[in-house]
Amino acid sequence: MATDTLKPDLVETGAVEAQEAPSPQPEPLGRATFRIWRGDGTGGALVDYTTTIAPGMVVLDAIHQIQAEQANDLAVRWNCKAGKCGSCSAEVNGMPKLMCMTRLSELPLAEPVSVEPMRAFRPIKDLVTDVSWNFTVKRGIKPFRPRAPDAPDGTWRMAQSDVDRVQEFRKCIECFLCQDVCHVLRDHQLHDAFIGPRFLVHAAALEMHPLDVEDRVPDLRRIHGIGYCNITKCCTAVCPEHITITDNAIIPLKERVVDEFFDPVGRLLKVFSRRESGA
């Protein structure tokens, strides 16, 4: 998918803006149609459902309303409904989104709103896809390994500025929208050769962790397939947590790979400096 199609569609209809109302009971704002993919691993089709719209509604509210009133067995994953758990990922009007954070006021409601499952993963049913591959991939990344504690009581000292950099990566809610949009996975289906942006962010969080002493650079090159990423930044564009995936996580990791494998002088210097510092 080309980057330019990924810009969020911020067309304002003005029709469903939250209004200051005197009573806590919301006035319905009319009806809208949702074109939802219904099906399973063997195939499916888009089905239209029309439902009532109230102020402040998000796409997930509409899906729940349709589920309760018209299609009891409509499958959808969700948990927190506040953009914190990363369960309700889907493609809304072709855009990878968290349904719970996509307000209807951001969408043109004159036409049907299409809601489809993430395309990079096998469909299970309706809006639910098989994301288990992601959990398998994570197990293949070397876990956190801290340096010896700094203080006799077994604790460490870290500066907030050092922690800040990694905290950006640790904001990730594992919604897998970045995996969904990555052309290496979505179009080329290279799930066996490439761990995808989510797990490059995970590897970056470990590699740049102030306490971690593990070396994941050889794995990044040979097993995790970092070379497949050609920096189109689609992942960064869809991240609901606004993590600067490409610039802050993937590019620094690529630089480490280059330093370690393609820069013999630098590599030699590194070996010596490590020996001297006793690390």
Binding site: E20, A21, A54, P55, V76, C80, K81, K125
Partner: protein, 606 residues
Amino acid sequence: MTDYQTFDHDVLVIGAGGAGLRAAIAASAAGVSVGLVCKSLLGKAHTVMAEGGVAAALANVDQRDSWQVHFADTMRGGQYVNNWRMAELHAREAPDRVRELEAWGALFDRTADGRILQRNFGGHKYPRLAHVGDRTGLEMIRTLQDHSIHQGIDVHMECTVLRIFTDGGRVAGALGYDRERGRFRLFRSRAIVLATGGIGRAYSITSNSWEYTGDGQALAYEAGAALQDMEFVQFHPTGMIWPPSVRGILVTEGVRGEGGVLRNRQGRRFMFDDIPDNYRSQTADTEEEGWRYTQGDKTARRPPELLTRDHVARCILREVREGRGSPHGGVFLDISWIREKLPAASQHIIRKLPSMYHQFKQLADIDITTTPMEVGPTTHYIMGGIRVNGETQSSTVPGLFAAGECAAGLHGANRLGGNSLSDLLVFGKRAGEFAAAFARTNGPATLDSAQVDDAARRAVEPFERGADGDGRGPYQLQQELQVTMQDLVGIVRTEPEMREALERIGRLGDRARNVGVVGNREYNPGWHTALDLANLLTVSEAITRAAIERQESRGGHFREDYPEKDPAASRFNLVIRKGPDGQMQLTREPIPDMPAELKRVIEEQK
């Protein structure tokens, strides 16, 4: 017996939030085989929503803090009906559990000298909550999750447990189904840890997700275990109230910890109007003193906004009922006013409360750095749950353990913010260890195939009945139950209303036993909702019966017909068991006498 997909685990952990993950890690470390069942995907459980922090007397920010102060704060907050042994162990062990997370990769915010930073929170005398901005729960669950996946634990994602089986009174295993295909999974296990969280979905306004249907409490009850303190439900004072689709979503107490204030529509700081006697000596006299407290002045006392959650929720309700509420039926929570005090206030707010900033910006078109939020109480947490031994977390059924929100005791009548995350760690670990020890010392039990077949048959009965009435069956019933509990067994309770609730719960139970569903067994939310109904009805009945029985007001339980605390009622817990006739039996169980050492600690901290 029908052919089931069968799994053997020495210890089966049901629930994969903080408590379940910590229990699974502990059991695995003890050398037994462990299965971990999650109702959702791994890492999505409600722990992820926790915002403010994890309470532990690390004394990194204020050296006066100690386990004794934490213990006394927890008991005072719980109005002294807590299991004091749990409160003691919790206060003593929480610091090590937090430090352990750091050794597993958690990155908490730091003090100037590089240690774990701690913030103020309601009911905690000193800054005590280790935190990561306002996404502490995410940090915690991810740390536990990423640690657990390398410990050889078998994870069953998107799997719901339907029944726990016993053999001669002890645990033998459980039957569940996977969401993807709707196939049954039979677990043979020597010990089970329940870590299923809360009951929020019994109410219509709640911060809890679809998962929190009282599964653990109901599974334990049906297996013969006792429940305790079910009348104590926490209504968090600050949930979002507008727009309607976000009603109930939590607004962290951290907003008030950072200096946020509550005002009514007249602009009055109404929390100064009603300060309970047992907190008066710890509460600021002036707005100025309260502000200094939030900014770390150790000579200042806390502002009344940081009184316990039960009290703040009732004060908000009073303002609304007496016509001083905000336009949408809440009150104003204002952090933007700190512009008067701090130079770069906007950036400060965004850095300290990033999730809150985005939540209001995206869902309510409100910039919290310039505009007050509208908030009101939301069903958040249940202090009661499965009655457990304070040290081992064993329920009254041998081999059945419970930890975290689904267990009772630590929090008494009201939980302090930040004490749930530490609860998960301290008692998750204990439950895992003692379950592993039980599994080692007790041989395998035998599953009764008739019981298993019965559980499986009942689970698919809704399909045989098919769509009934207007075809909205399970959702309609769930909604009616939620409205009943919200209206009749909510923040302010009276006996006639609760009697009415009991009758309605009975009628809903009759309808639930006949509910039908459409579609097939593959990822069918209508079917899942129908199956969850039984658990919701069980916990709703337990809450209501206990709330009728406790004829006083204490912590999260407020009776309009008995508005005062009854000293005699501080000496017992209400315990519920399934009677031989299948009816709920309620008894008063005396609280054991506290050892002199702990009594002394409480006296010293008064």
